[in-house]
Symmetry: C2
Subunit: 192 residues, 2 copies
Amino acid sequence: MFTEFERYIKAQAGLSDVNIKLFRDTAVEKTLRRKDFLLQQGEICRYKIFVSKGLLRTYRTTDNGSEHIMQFSPENSWTTDPESYDNLTPSCYNIDALEQSEVLMWTKKDFNALFENIPALKTYSEALISRNLYRTRQRVFNALSSTAEEKYDDFIKTYPDILARVPLHMVASFLGLSRETLSRIRHAQVKQ
Amino acid sequence: MFTEFERYIKAQAGLSDVNIKLFRDTAVEKTLRRKDFLLQQGEICRYKIFVSKGLLRTYRTTDNGSEHIMQFSPENSWTTDPESYDNLTPSCYNIDALEQSEVLMWTKKDFNALFENIPALKTYSEALISRNLYRTRQRVFNALSSTAEEKYDDFIKTYPDILARVPLHMVASFLGLSRETLSRIRHAQVKQ
């Protein structure tokens, strides 16, 4: 499963073979079956996680039992709970596998050592965090300003691949819509 | 107006007098009257902005004319449009003054030079960006999961000072609620 990561990190961050070996030496490889958890609410998120294959989901369950999806993480993307990882505080989120998945994980100690040894990694990581912030701000703006129809249309455009891989109630949960509203929108679009 | 900033940055980032002089040498000072703009949709956001006094607002107007408030920035806080500032792309946001305000601004060139010369500034800035990301993620989660009442209660707890300084329709705009819904909630709370 390291091959996908090697291809990815070479293309994205332009790292040398020597630096990639540093990643390999400290990576924890893990295969997940569907519904396996990588993190559960209340635990500390101790890893930065790269998804080599499959699809993960970050979600939170509220006191009344409803599930809210913060993030889908398909192959060739990173995930973690940044607040829990940075501050070693209990996470409010769960991360589980929606498909059989393969991940590479690095502890904070090991990832910080990579930062020390690979200056280009810092630049790449800062760019990733910035992109994450832009997207999260855009998601706030969509939540404030968009109709249910606009939210769904935006999802189709932004995540066409995810739409085909997850059940509709999860799309509704990600968008903050009820299943009924999302079904109504889809039926209306089919009729048009 | 540099005095407030000096006190703030000493306390927050523990900078020395020599380093603070570097900030002072490149700061652009500006006084804003109420309703003055620092940024308008379509312009490139060329500054990191520190609010020494007053209150700024970041908002976007959609095609149908409705205003959506992304951020309130009171004294002793930073603001910018990170995406526009980082990538020199036209901003989707406006930043204006809700009260008479005093700001200090640094261009990207000057701020990058500060990063070069003051290693502690990098650590401080990364922590700020991370905190911004945590809060923005929490705001997404609230948008997905909270009732209108919960959103308003959360606002009162998180921004008690802002609540007293802005008209209610702006609180509604920040929370993604209609004025009518917010008025209904407030009346219900007064009756209790």
